[in-house]
Amino acid sequence: MHRFANPARFLRIAAVILPWSAGLTVVLLVLGLYLSLFGSPPDYQQGETVRIMYIHVPAAWMSLFVYTNMAVAAAVGLVWKHPLADLFAKAAAPIGAGFTFVCLVTGSLWGAPMWGTWWVWDARLTSVLILFFLYLGYMALVNAFDDPERGIKAGNVLLLVGIVNVPIIKFSVDWWNTLHQPSSVIKMGGPSIAGPMLWPLLVMAMAFTAYFVTVVLLRVKSEIVARKVQTLRLNEARG
């Protein structure tokens, strides 16, 4: 068993990491927001709406990043039955769903003035909407069972099945003719986005990542405490 399997050790490590990740989140958010709103130029075509990009793109990256982490945790949970892996997947889900929701909404708000539509059923938007449903479906599935262990197991299977959606989302703009623009950052040959726009993007992405680390640690801690409560209650019921 990996040494982080022991929740007491996890709680100690989390207690050390949390103040740093929380502090980093605040610092990076302040810096990122400053750069996004003040420290970067308007786009020659899109004007000030480009500032939506500094939320939309990092949120999209996070939605994929969180899901991938959850799928890895699901595999670890299914194969090695690592209890912390299961708790991590459950804890990360609402955060991933939140980022996906932000991505979809900010995308619509950006699309309406710039691309002339709030929504289109192209490959990128549709597959991200499916990702959002996968998050919601996972959360519903895990909570649908009386036995939490069965719920976790079912959820893990769903996560592994849904992982195929992640590369589909990433390559959708290459494989299909989409309204959504092609990749300009993570692609062969490196980023083609202008420097003054790349920096706010990266800082906001790091801020969102630090936020994710902070909140997921808090949520795993919450799950551990909830399980202790349940165990105590079960022991009391047994007498």
Binding site: T49, I52, Y211, V215, R219, V225, K228, N235, R238
Partner: protein
Amino acid sequence: MAEFFAMGGYAAYVWPAYAVTALVLVGLLVTTLRGLRSHEATLKALEGSRPPRRRSRREAAGPGAAAEMGEG
């Protein structure tokens, strides 16, 4: 100042985007912290109402000890 808030005429799109993001991120954090505080309070209440740990854990444990994930 007014220019900044006008966002080149796109204020109706830019500011709601930032607002929704703030709402989601702050809301998630608040919900998480409330849940954590609530669970910790319940745990404290349950542990407080139990007799001293060592003796009762060994007596009452049995199958329950396997279900516990270890000392907190």
